[in-house]
């Protein structure tokens, strides 16, 4: 649907989230959805971030705490495995890092401009002092 100005919008009009008909939305993962230009999914808030999470899968136990507590649907979990972060929608709040229970953490925050490969190579080792 072509975007209209707010004052061209007829009363009772609807924004359609998807192109065409969708029967089983609760059973269709995001990558298989035909989003329309009116879903905020097609937008990005990446420029809100000043810090960003980096995921190190070597230590991840797929507990899914990060998935359930991410406010921005930015932890991508598929088939019960945490597979990565949706950097278009992540706002860099840092909740996922706080709730990650592994030692060392499987998620850590870095400045937005940090290089992911470098940070992964310098990932801290297990902290013995921690409970």
């Amino acid at each position: 649907m072509a975007n209209k100005g707010w004052d061209e919008f007829e009363i009772g009009a609807m924004l359609r989230t998807f192109e065409g008909k969708i029967d089983d939305i609760a059973g269709t993962l995001q990558e298989n959805r035909a989003y329309s230009q009116n879903s905020s999914f097609v937008a990005s808030v990446a420029d809100w971030r000043i810090i960003k999470p980096v995921f190190n899968k070597d230590f991840c136990i797929d507990c899914q705490f990060c998935w359930v507590y991410c406010p921005d649907i930015s932890i991508i979990s598929r088939d019960k495995k945490m597979i990565g972060i949706d950097m278009d929608h992540c706002k860099g709040c840092g909740i996922c890092v706080e709730v990650c229970p592994t030692n060392p953490k499987s998620l850590m925050m870095f400045p937005e401009k940090a290089d992911e490969e470098t940070e992964l190579a310098a990932w801290p080792a297990k902290n013995e002092e921690k409970k």
């Binding site: 905020s40 709040c93 840092g94």
Partner: protein
């Protein structure tokens, strides 16, 4: 009634396909969306939703975008509950007349609203919905303040909290009136289910939401929603604040079935002093000045008294 979705553990829950989208404009670390996700992901059924004016509504329906993958209505501040109740009435009427195109689908009707929209401005609308017996669920995103308009006090704002209309200062310790007990008020409508939930206890939340979806009649849910902007804490600490809220018993988790059967659904292994909960938030910072310290003691006494009362009610089944 349709079958409840089977969610035994968090791994299973994580296979849910979210129907709430990112790039909404809620603050980083906002608990509103964590709560919404847990509620929506508790079912696979169709959803008919409304949101009353407030952070959730304003930030998820910014033209030309919507963050909702379900039918979603917004009318005003006060009438999100009646909007969804109207849709539910129409649905019932069409079903009775045999005019539904897909009669075997079991849509769930949910109204989301802030504490301002629920405790104050939409109060009579919600009460009407409860009294008329609509098959809807009203979920309060309780951040104890009118967050979207800059932090004015509501009747959910607790004693001692500094709000823009009840600020702390030389002559005041902030809000002076106690928080309204909405779970009890709503239960007193003799509705089938009324409960308090918290996003950190996702399993308790899912269980209560599913219970709410399975009963016939109105359901009231009060969800504590730590607000990084108005409670003044670092966005990364939202879940920590929720943990402090439930484990200090400032937000006890319980349910009231059919208006009288009260069950406490979470008993913290170690109860955290209320002082720790208050100390973690800028809105209570002034309470730690010498002249206001007695208020912290009073806070603890209030929380203890409420907890004792809940325990007595649970035991007495009244």
């Amino acid at each position: 009634m349709s079958e409840n979705k089977n969610i035994k553990n968090l791994k299973e829950f994580s296979t849910s396909a979210d129907r709430f989208e990112g790039a909404n404009l809620l603050c980083p670390g906002c608990a509103h969306s964590i709560i919404v996700r847990e509620v929506l992901n508790a079912t696979n059924d169709d959803l008919i939703l409304s949101a009353s004016t407030g952070c959730l509504e304003v930030c998820t329906a910014v033209y030309p975008y919507t963050s909702w993958d379900a039918s979603w209505i917004h009318i005003g501040f006060e009438n999100g509950s009646t909007a969804v109740a109207g849709a539910e009435s129409m649905y019932k009427a069409l079903k009775t007349k045999g005019r539904l195109k897909q009669p075997d689908r079991n849509p769930k009707f949910v109204s989301f609203a802030g504490d301002g929209a629920s405790y104050d401005i939409g109060f009579q609308w919600i009460s009407g919905c409860m009294e008329r017996g609509h098959n809807i669920m009203h979920v309060v995103l309780d951040n104890e303040v009118y967050a979207n308009t800059g932090g004015q006090r509501s009747s959910s704002t607790p004693i001692g909290s500094s709000a823009t209309t009840s600020p702390e200062g030389r002559r005041s310790y902030g809000e002076k009136k106690n928080k309204k007990d909405m779970v009890s008020i709503m239960a007193s409508h003799n509705i089938p289910y009324s409960a308090q939930v918290a996003p950190n206890k996702w399993k308790d939340m899912v269980k209560k939401i599913q219970h709410g979806f399975s009963v016939d009649g109105p359901v009231f849910i009060n969800a504590v929603s730590p607000c990084t902007t108005e409670w003044k804490f670092d966005p990364k600490d939202t879940m920590h604040l929720a943990d402090l809220a439930t484990d200090s018993l400032v937000f006890p988790l319980y349910e009231i079935i059919d208006g009288h059967e009260l069950n406490i659904t979470y008993r913290p292994k170690t109860v955290v002093p209320v002082e720790e909960y208050l100390a973690a938030q800028g809105r209570f910072k002034h309470l730690f000045k010498d002249e206001y310290k007695h208020l912290i003691k009073e806070w603890q006494e209030r929380v203890d008294a409420k907890w004792a009362q809940l325990n007595r009610r649970e035991e007495a089944r009244v």
